[in-house]
Symmetry: C2
Subunit: 182 residues, 2 copies
Amino acid sequence: MENLTEKTITKEQIYNGKIIDLYVEEVELPNKKIGKREIVKHPGAVAILAVTDEGKILMVEQFRKPLEKTIIEIPAGKLEKGEDPLECAKRELLEETGYSCEKMEPIGSFYTSPGFADELIHLFFTDSLIKKGAQMTDEDEFLNAMEISVDEARQMVKDERIHDAKTAYGVMYMELARAAGR
Amino acid sequence: MENLTEKTITKEQIYNGKIIDLYVEEVELPNKKIGKREIVKHPGAVAILAVTDEGKILMVEQFRKPLEKTIIEIPAGKLEKGEDPLECAKRELLEETGYSCEKMEPIGSFYTSPGFADELIHLFFTDSLIKKGAQMTDEDEFLNAMEISVDEARQMVKDERIHDAKTAYGVMYMELARAAGR
């Protein structure tokens, strides 16, 4: 196996933001030539696959400025500094849907865009929901909560009405669980 | 349903890069207050779920500078300006693995990080591979090609040796296809 490591030669911070930072690095490539890497630093995020007693998936409709449109996603949010992902997931679920839960379990974590960003998203599953009340979103966050069956969600992935990686993953997770008789 | 749209008030370009651009926008929120959005523009990408005659998934091991480590992913790459995603997928598959294919079909497209980036990744599937020769990677791209069975890949997702969203999605796609007897 070839050694694939890229050693940093210089590192310049381009932007220090509220959610992301941007760096540009000059790196020494495995063939000793010099390359350039553009790197977005992100604090990480959580997403929650939450299923009601009727077998419906909780989702939220939210305007995503980078896309200039509204999309439908499972509840999610970014980690606060030093925050435990499980605590963050419970907080986001309550804030975005008004549900808490008896039990929540991790079902994997994934880098979303390893070519240019270090964002790691932690996925959680719960099917022991308890309705607490209305949404309590952040002051700059606006969304509509929805409950969608697995079959309807599968169709929405096909139609690209669900067009988001973590949500499509969650839908397929439910389909696989069903196929496996879980 | 509430109107969730965020109207741009000001837009500043922070960075114009080789792969990504960064913008900061002031937006008018649905409650008429002013918010700030940090937005990464990306040309989009493709990834290829390619399965050999023996039922193994083609993967590549690659150093990802944002993560400061090597990870294992299905073959992928960014779109060139104006490039058709299918053509891009065939090109990337050949460059990264030395395989071409008789037939390749789209199996969905997904936004990877809609909170801060507009990256859309187009996924393709092929199981009609034809070995052409060695890798022909870009001059700043170094990777090891691998062939991994679905069972082994499932274990690698559990162990976080596969830790990348598109690849985990591809592995689950294969598991679901098997469960459905396809």
